[in-house]
């Protein structure tokens, strides 16, 4: 069974500023329905299927709609059109630094984030040691997270997502601030999980090395359109070709 199936997903955003003028327009729209829509389409007619054991890098330049697509997958935002079928539990690492409760200790945050991802308390209790060991935060488990460095917060969040019993991990630029040693540790852990076909991952990063190490496949998002799933090297060739064309133009 597919973990995730996106069909004809389209999403647009209104990029106009919100002020008195937009309020007057909204009031007018309320009384006279206007078909004209000035929204900018961020994702257009996008299809994607994810199965157990898949590791997919989502490639695209800034503003291509990668984060929006991840938010749609996570259920944080809704598409204008299209359908999403989720047959999995999702651990999302989208705005991980704001997800943590900064007054809670690292230990308490494991239960806070875990509960938010619908992981049972028993499951979390059995995983606490693994999470702290992986994040190398045993020493700081009773320290409030507000005293953690950004890197430590990322380590904690990432460790929770990787260690708890969820099916699909979606990560958006999570390892950007991590040190090289932790990045290598994550690459090893994720590769292990993917090889054992326990979970799937959709990964967004501008770090080519990380993408190639973590993901077997890649998809390219360009002008709101998603390419077909390709082997990661093919996906990068296609991505580079698009970028070259853009530079030449």
């Amino acid at each position: 069974m597919k973990f995730l199936k996106l069909e004809n997903i389209t999403k647009s955003y209104n990029l106009e500023p919100t002020n008195f003028k937009s309020f007057i327009i909204d009031v007018k729209k309320f009384f006279v329905s206007e078909k004209q829509n000035n929204n900018k389409i961020v994702i257009s007619d996008c299809n994607l299927e994810v199965e157990k054991g898949d590791s997919i890098a989502l490639l695209g330049k800034n503003g291509a709609g990668k984060s929006t697509l991840l938010k749609i997958i996570a259920g944080i935002t809704y598409p204008d059109y299209g359908s999403i079928k989720r047959n999995c539990t999702i651990a999302s690492m989208l705005s991980i630094l704001t997800a943590l409760e900064h007054e809670f200790t690292g230990y308490e945050n494991i239960f806070f984030l875990g509960a938010g991802m619908q992981i049972s308390k028993n499951n979390l209790e059995s995983k606490v040691d693994d999470i702290l060991t992986f994040a190398d935060l045993h020493e700081f488990k009773n320290t409030p997270v507000k005293r953690y460095s950004t890197g430590m917060k990322v380590r904690l969040s990432f460790s929770i997502c990787v260690n708890v019993a969820c099916d699909l991990i979606i990560a958006d630029e999570v390892l950007m601030v991590s040190d090289q040693a932790f990045k290598e540790k994550c690459i090893l852990e994720i590769s292990k999980i993917i090889e054992q076909k326990k979970k799937a991952i959709i990964f967004v990063s501008h770090d080519r090395y990380l993408n190639k190490k973590i993901c077997k496949y890649g998809v390219v998002l360009k002008n709101g359109n998603l390419s077909k799933i390709m082997k990661i090297d093919e996906a990068y060739n296609y991505y580079d070709l698009i970028n070259k064309k853009n530079i030449n133009n």
């Binding site: 996570a74 944080i76 809704y78 999302s92 704001t98 997800a99 409760e101 239960f111 619908q118």
Partner: protein, 266 residues
């Protein structure tokens, strides 16, 4: 409806964590901690008792002014606290909403539960004050069934405040200044409800005016249960219930709108 309740049940652990988060955020690095829940209404009621009860000699239904104002303010403060906290949900917790999916109604429920628990602290203090006046002979009307029944108007105001909060928080996802209107509503309701004055001073000719105040009946009933204040006509209950039903319908649609559009605007 049932699927929504199921969802809430599935997230019960997270609901507990959210309540814990609210308490920790409120009480960490404080000197007085939960004592604030007693000191604040005591100071507020003390000033009201001094100004309105003693200096201006307002009628307080033959009970000591301090007791009268503690009862009135505890009810109104619970209402105000719940509505105000719920009216800023999307602005205050946008980081969490953007991190992972969870039903947004959980945030409202957690804030209401937090506020109800804080109310219970005030309620215990209120009972202690009633008992003290009873022992001193200044108050003779303790009725334990009425004390339990006082949670009925609390239930009404809980639903009323969560609906009001949902409406304002949903409207403010696009136009943030709409949240400020709830402050005006609170002020209007405070001065037009029998909080500072007794129901007995309300002129029969002008009583119709209170049909526009949906908390007039519940607060009067609350006072009646605890200190035997005069009850208004039952028709005021119907007007309150009609307003509650209307608010619930509006808040249901606005919640659905905000749930889908939140990320587009906030």
């Amino acid at each position: 409806m049932i699927s929504n309740l199921k969802k809430i049940y599935l997230y019960k652990d997270f609901l507990f964590q959210l309540i814990k988060k609210h308490f920790v955020n409120f009480y960490k690095q404080t000197i007085l901690g939960p004592l604030l829940q007693i000191i604040t209404p005591l100071l507020q009621s003390g000033i009201f008792a001094l100004v309105f009860g003693k200096l201006l000699d307002f009628n307080t239904d033959s009970v000591p002014p301090l007791l009268f104002y503690i009862i009135c303010t505890s009810y109104f403060n619970y209402f105000r606290g719940s509505a105000m906290k719920c009216s800023n949900v999307y602005q205050n917790y946008q980081g969490l909403f953007r991190s992972f999916y969870f039903p947004k109604i959980l945030m409202y429920i957690s804030l209401i539960i937090e506020n109800f628990l804080l109310y219970l602290i005030q309620f215990i203090f209120l009972l202690a004050v009633i008992l003290l006046y009873f022992l001193l002979g200044a108050f003779e009307k303790i009725n334990f069934i009425n004390i339990l029944l006082s949670f009925v108007p609390i239930l009404y105001i809980t639903f009323f405040s969560i609906n009001l909060g949902i409406i304002f928080s949903s409207l403010s996802i696009k136009y943030r200044d709409l949240t400020h209107f709830i402050n005006y509503i609170m002020q209007i309701l405070f001065y037009t409800s029998p909080i500072l004055f007794s129901n007995s001073v309300v002129s029969k000719d002008l009583e119709w005016f209170f049909y526009f105040n949906p908390i007039y009946y519940p607060i009067s009933y609350y006072k009646n249960l605890l200190i035997g204040s005069q009850m208004p006509n039952i028709t005021f209950l119907f007007s309150s219930l009609i307003v509650l039903v209307l608010l619930s319908i509006i808040s249901y649609f606005l919640y659905k709108f905000a749930n889908k559009q939140f990320d587009d605007f906030v």
